[in-house]
Symmetry: none
């Protein structure tokens, strides 16, 4: 039952499409710069719609610019199985992050067609809007809006660094696209499958071509503001200083100690650190820094995140602190039945697979609460991602599409 | 002999000018933000040139934008007695740091004129360029260049945080100023007197309105660059990270430990601290920070400064560091004869004075090696400086100008 559709995956077509799509927004260094809702992304969408049309897939969009290519012989209103990822990139992005998941989904649908199958449940290949969040923060905007996790009006009002609102960027991109129907956000879905590059080295290290993603680590983010008092570097005695920089340095190291675990599962990062007035001969009176804290287990993430404020306060000395939690997303586990279906499909095709955790966030995070959701990973060389040097093996790309095809054949086709 | 010129000091005019000048670059919180070579500083210079013109003083400048207002009945080439300070401020500066010394000098010259005196030696009221060093590091740029302690071309090539070179900032400011003659740097001078706010609390604590400055503590400044590797905050395991921020935090605390002395004489400050790429979800790959290190004794300053690089290297972990010494000025003693002249003038006027050390650096540092140099301090409330709350008493401002006038009357007028 699995063999025929998987065997119909056209490895060359998939590989050529990956590189054809990468020409939209291509960087001179071999990478891709394809911002969400840009003209470059519009070109990529036109290309996708064209490939879908060759396979008889009907294009749709919605109020957030998500693109759907539907394989559907019957009722246009029936809930669909969604399969895909995103096609926006980081400014210094690679060819495969996101794009692979969309094109593997399209290839899987065409493989089912080539194997003479028909959809029992409609299948939609999807490209979610602004997963990366590098143009409009935060990311996973299209999937979050689709799933009802964020308010549409709030999303539409967000602005990029140039001051352009999502609503205006959407309108500008739509003017560059063919006139396709718009369907509502928050439609029900029967399942969501997302293939993606791993963005880590677990699969590469184990020499395994396929990861069945167990779930996604949780993430809490904070902003810490340390307030001291400005003073003259040459005259203010040490005893009377309220040096915000030294206090913040103590906090950074205290937080590092708090989050150092033997298993090396905690991800703790201070990525942003702004000092004021930031002049060489003035004792800083203010530091604001970010904390990005992630862990695969809810209990540990809760314990560590809840300890952030007290850990900072303990070493604040004469400075004042204000700690604000900016976001909190608990760890997720993907649907056991779907994970099992993916693993069984791999086994039946003779493709080695292993369970892996996802350290990065993906659109699947927002689909998981509304429908059975799972992900599969293929290796990427050295774990390098968000970088022009992002690289994958053709054989791994093919294996991922074959497992998608075999899984869809079992779950939604006849 | 002293009484007449000192009595001619116009206390109201001096006080009003201090507050008129503070309007150029005024902050809403009552402070002053008047960067070196800015449009705001150009406005302040135009005002100074105007006040000088009312007193018949001839304006000059030089290749570094230092402003001179010359009181001179005779030979334009004759070396002058220089009296003044600076008019640039810290970004969060007050009204009196620097400005007081320039306006007290102008008031002293006008008092001599009002007392019917003439210069035996020409007198130049001077405002040195970029004393603060907050726009272009290091500070005391104009006086250092004038005195030949730094190379002019090297100074002109320095850039501010926005990438603007000193040469270009000078040209931009000169376009905003009246066309005044330019005279060479490294002209000989017969003496230099600088009045300044104390920026400490010795005078206030003792209830003494005037300090005769004995000398200046030494100062060494450094720039430390820490290079790690950027990585994804969500995926990069702690064990493989090369986090430049955490390494820099360790260096800050190791340097703090190195410089903590029981006597609290060491002044150690990290005032500037720049992180790249400074994004919340990226492990920083680069931190550049400043070190400002001061001590009144040469031996201690040498020992501590020489230990900076090794102290940073010891805690650099997997990061690389580059330590550059930007400036080194050993402790100084001011000219005994000039200090004595200032003290005698104060005594003869019935103004209490005491010897005080200067913890801060001043332009006088660079004049001291080339001509007899001395400074006098007036108290500033609570020692608060480089801050909008900087505050002085009108009576102290007057007393300083009176002692300057009486001293000049004795040394250079007839």
């Amino acid at each position: 039952m699995h063999a025929a559709p998987a065997a119909a995956v056209d490895a060359d077509r998939l590989w050529q499409r990956l590189h054809a799509l990468a020409r939209h927004g291509a960087r001179e260094d071999g990478g891709v710069d394809r911002p969400a809702l840009s003209a470059e992304e519009a070109d990529a969408k036109r290309t996708l719609i064209g490939w879908g049309a060759e396979a008889g897939l009907l294009p749709f969009t919605d109020a957030l610019g998500n693109l759907f290519l539907r394989w559907d012989a019957g009722d246009i209103a029936a809930p669909a199985a969604l399969v895909g990822s995103h096609i926006d990139s980081q400014p210094t992005g690679g060819k495969y992050d996101g794009a692979y998941g969309v094109l593997a989904a399209l290839e899987a649908v065409q493989a089912l067609q080539a194997a003479g199958m028909r959809p029992r449940i409609p299948v939609e290949v999807v490209a979610w809007t602004n997963e990366e969040g590098s143009r409009f923060a935060p990311g996973m905007m299209g999937s979050a809006g689709f799933a009802g996790a964020r308010d549409t009006a709030e999303i539409l009002a967000r602005r990029d660094a140039a001051g352009i609102a999502v609503a205006d960027a959407l309108a500008a991109q739509r003017a560059l696209l063919p006139d396709i129907p718009e369907r509502p956000l928050r439609r029900p879905a029967t399942l969501f499958l997302e293939a993606h590059i791993e963005q880590a080295t677990v699969l590469e290290t184990h020499g395994i071509p396929l990861g069945i993603v167990t779930g996604m680590q949780g993430k809490r983010t904070f902003r810490v503001e340390v307030t001291g008092e400005a003073a003259h570097a040459g005259t203010a005695p040490r005893a009377g200083r309220r040096d915000a920089l030294l206090a913040a340095a103590r906090m950074a190291l205290a937080l590092e100690a708090l989050t150092t675990d033997a298993e090396d599962l905690v991800r703790f990062t201070i990525g942003r650190f702004d000092v004021a007035p930031n002049a060489p001969s003035v004792v800083p009176d203010r530091v604001a820094f970010s904390i990005d804290l992630r862990h695969p287990e809810a209990a540990m993430l809760t314990r560590l995140g809840d300890a952030v404020a007290a850990t900072c306060a303990e070493v604040a000395g004469p400075c004042e602190i204000a700690v604000a939690e900016l976001s909190a997303a608990m760890p997720q586990r993907f649907h056991a039945g779907l994970r099992s279906a993916l693993a069984q499909a791999a086994t039946s095709l003779g493709i080695a697979s292993m369970p892996v955790a996802s350290a990065a966030g993906h659109d699947a995070r927002f689909l998981e609460p509304i429908c059975p959701t799972a992900m599969l990973f293929i290796p990427c060389r050295g774990g390098i991602t968000h970088h022009p040097a992002e690289s994958i093996e053709p054989a791994h790309a093919t294996a991922g599409a074959q497992v998608l095809a075999a899984t869809l054949a079992q779950l939604v086709a006849a």
